[in-house]
């Protein structure tokens, strides 16, 4: 996996939203890459900038927001300089997305089968009956029972889990290079969620699509992703292979995050993360975790730490880790 070439590279991306009180620095210099065939988890609490980063990849940041800085390269092509018309040819074709609320993402007035078939008509130029045939194939592929009959039904006749399967079918219909899954299992019951994640893993492996999985659930990350990028208050603080991240979390925020969640297979002591996510309005330079960090010193508040490789393929942005004050666990 380490040798695989990146499908998408996000380099030093900053997104700001103008408000009456000043700029909200929603994403601040985020860098990560999703490699060929891998599932990269993007984790963080609400407001950490995960979804805004995804929106930036799709070129959908709208006023009052703007991409202030950075570059996004998909398969060797710079996306940030493309016009809307060119982006239109990439969105939904090379990069597809499934969202947290599958039911609202489906059109309630058109049968599910027609919605999937439309993609084949628009993107592959197929005729009506051929598109329909392919749509039913896709529904079968994502594990919808009786796809012929279900294709004639409407979104309200589907359960939440089934709606999410339809979304996955639609996202994969055009064989995208990158699938962005934004909290795909939030709001689903545990057993349904587990099956959706199994499906994503299986389809990712089978179709070779790379997946950017956005979630706040470290359990989902541990069971689904190959590598993980951790975001805190708009900054990417750590990027590591999933096993290394859980076994040797380096950044103080990641450590606190890993220790703040209970488990079902054994009783553990739980330690909440100190402090609160800082306001992103007119932020000071420096590490945004400094206000919550036990190892913070003056330098952390003045300068923003860069990403350093602390172990093979394991990167963290922290001065305390860099100079050994916060010894890795």
């Amino acid at each position: 996996m380490t040798a695989a070439a990146p499908v998408i590279e996000v380099r030093d991306v900053s997104v700001r939203f103008a408000t009456d009180y000043g700029d909200v620095h929603a994403v601040d210099g985020a860098s990560f890459a999703v490699r060929q065939g891998e599932i990269l988890g993007l984790v963080g609490e609400s407001g950490s900038g995960k979804s805004v980063t995804a929106t930036a990849i799709l070129g959908l940041i709208r006023r009052p927001g703007r991409l202030a800085h950075g570059s996004i390269v998909l398969g060797g092509r710079e996306l940030t300089t493309l016009g809307q018309e060119e982006l239109q040819k990439i969105r939904g074709v090379e990069v597809a997305m499934i969202s947290q609320t599958p039911r609202t993402a489906l059109n309630p007035l058109i049968t599910v089968g027609r919605q999937v078939a439309r993609l084949f008509t628009i993107h592959a130029g197929l005729g009506k009956s051929e598109a329909r045939r392919r749509a039913i194939e896709m529904l079968a592929l994502v594990g919808i029972p009786e796809p012929e009959r279900r294709a004639r039904q409407y979104a309200h006749q589907f359960s939440g889990g089934m709606c999410q399967r339809v979304m996955i079918a639609m996202a994969l219909a055009t064989s995208p290079r990158l699938l962005i899954a934004d909290e795909p299992t939030t709001g689903l019951d545990v057993s349904t969620a587990a099956r959706i994640l199994d499906l994503l893993r299986e389809l990712g492996a089978r179709t070779g699509a790379s997946i950017l999985l956005i979630t706040h659930d470290l359990g989902v990350v541990a069971q689904t992703c190959h590598r993980v990028a951790v975001m805190h208050a708009g900054q990417v603080v750590e990027v590591a292979p999933v096993r290394a991240l859980f076994a040797h979390p380096a950044h103080p925020y990641t450590r606190a995050l890993v220790h703040s969640i209970p488990r079902t297979d054994r009783a553990i002591a739980m330690e909440p993360i100190p402090g609160a996510v800082p306001s992103l309005l007119n932020v000071a330079p420096g590490c945004r975790y400094a206000g919550r960090c036990p190892w913070a010193e003056d330098r952390c508040r003045r300068e923003k730490p860069g990403m350093t490789e602390i172990a093979p393929d394991h990167f963290a942005a922290c001065f305390a880790v860099e100079d050994g004050r916060a010894a890795p666990v």
Binding site: E45, A194, R195, D217, V220, T264
Partner: protein
């Protein structure tokens, strides 16, 4: 430990209304009802936390709502502190309510947007105690402090608070009348990981300090393991398994519990996953399968599962309703 609250064969059925229900009734020959809670029995002892788990639609929130009389039970009995609640008049029931409080799932939506925090925390005192204004004010400030909210937040309105702060106000409000049992309906599911941990620790600290009992309703099994001393598992309106928390999580007996635990993503890439899964989706509570309710989805189902299931003790203090145990 003495019994504090006991549910005996509690049933909450909702009649279906409208043309579709009428047509259905014509076809089936009897009126259709949603059997949301269909014979639930459990007890909560003084000072303990009972976890009630299950997926959406299993009826766990309806049990909670029946306890605080937000819905009327169709049958069965609820006993609290030795007194039967089900037959009480509203007036007599309101005398019990200071001892029986509830915290809801959506922290912001359960607060009144037009009242400052202070007023909302004083409201139960106004309703249930004879305290004068000064005493109410003092008590409200004391409970706010206890849940970790400074007095400076007392004059704020809900929209000025974060989700975690809103949930603390809800907890303070439930705590104001010195209750003995608090029903917590998914109190942490709307919160972020870091806030969730803090609310969980706060709840545990309050329970120990005041000798409170909790009925903790959640689909978040890890949180339930952390907080609960005993756990009851609900599926399609009935309890299918009940045991001490450690026993239930380490040795689940019922196939439903096993599948539920197998589906939880452990925050550990090295964790071994039990591949045990159920097929299909939860049936409608209008057409509940006869016999074992899980049999339409259970990979272990046998012909005997169509027979009524006995609920029996499979190990000391560990009960389960499954033919195959």
């Amino acid at each position: 430990m003495p019994r504090l609250c006991e549910l005996d064969d509690l049933k909450v059925h909702f009649p279906l209304r409208g043309t579709a229900a009428w047509l259905r009734a014509l076809k089936d020959g009897h009126p259709s009802v949603v059997r949301a809670v269909d014979g639930v029995s459990f007890h909560v002892d003084a000072g303990e936390t009972l976890g009630l788990v299950g997926e959406s639609g299993c009826g766990k929130s309806t049990v909670a709502r029946a306890l605080v009389r937000l819905v009327q039970p169709t049958g069965g009995r609820i006993t609290f502190d030795g007194a039967e609640l089900t037959g009480l008049s509203d007036e007599a029931y309101n005398k019990v309510r200071p001892n029986l409080q509830m915290v809801f799932q959506d922290p912001a939506a359960s607060l009144n947007p037009r009242l400052p925090v202070r007023r909302m925390v004083e409201e139960p005192l106004l309703l249930h105690t004879g305290l004068d204004a000064a005493a109410r004010r003092a008590r409200a400030e004391a409970v706010l402090e206890e849940v970790g909210l400074g007095v400076e937040l007392a004059d704020r309105y809900p929209h000025e608070l974060s989700g975690g702060q809103c949930q603390r106000v809800n907890i303070a409000r439930a705590l104001a009348t010195n209750p003995r049992l608090i029903v917590l309906d998914e109190p942490t599911s709307a919160l972020d990981v870091s806030l969730r941990a803090r609310v969980i620790l706060l709840l545990e600290e309050l329970r120990q300090r005041h000798g409170l009992s909790y009925l903790f309703i959640s689909h978040d099994l890890a949180t339930v393991r952390y907080l609960a001393s005993r756990v009851a598992v609900m599926y399609l309106g009935v309890i299918v398994e009940e045991a001490e928390a450690a026993e239930l999580f380490d040795r689940p007996a019922h196939p439903y519990t096993r599948a539920l635990l197998a589906a939880v993503p452990e925050p550990d890439p090295e964790a071994k996953r039990d591949p045990f899964t159920l097929s299909g989706e939860i049936p409608s509570p209008i057409d509940i399968p006869g016999g074992c309710r899980l049999r339409t989805r259970c990979p272990l189902a046998q012909p005997i599962c169509a027979e009524p299931v006995p609920y029996r003790e499979v190990a000391p203090g560990h009960f389960a309703a499954c033919h195959l145990l």
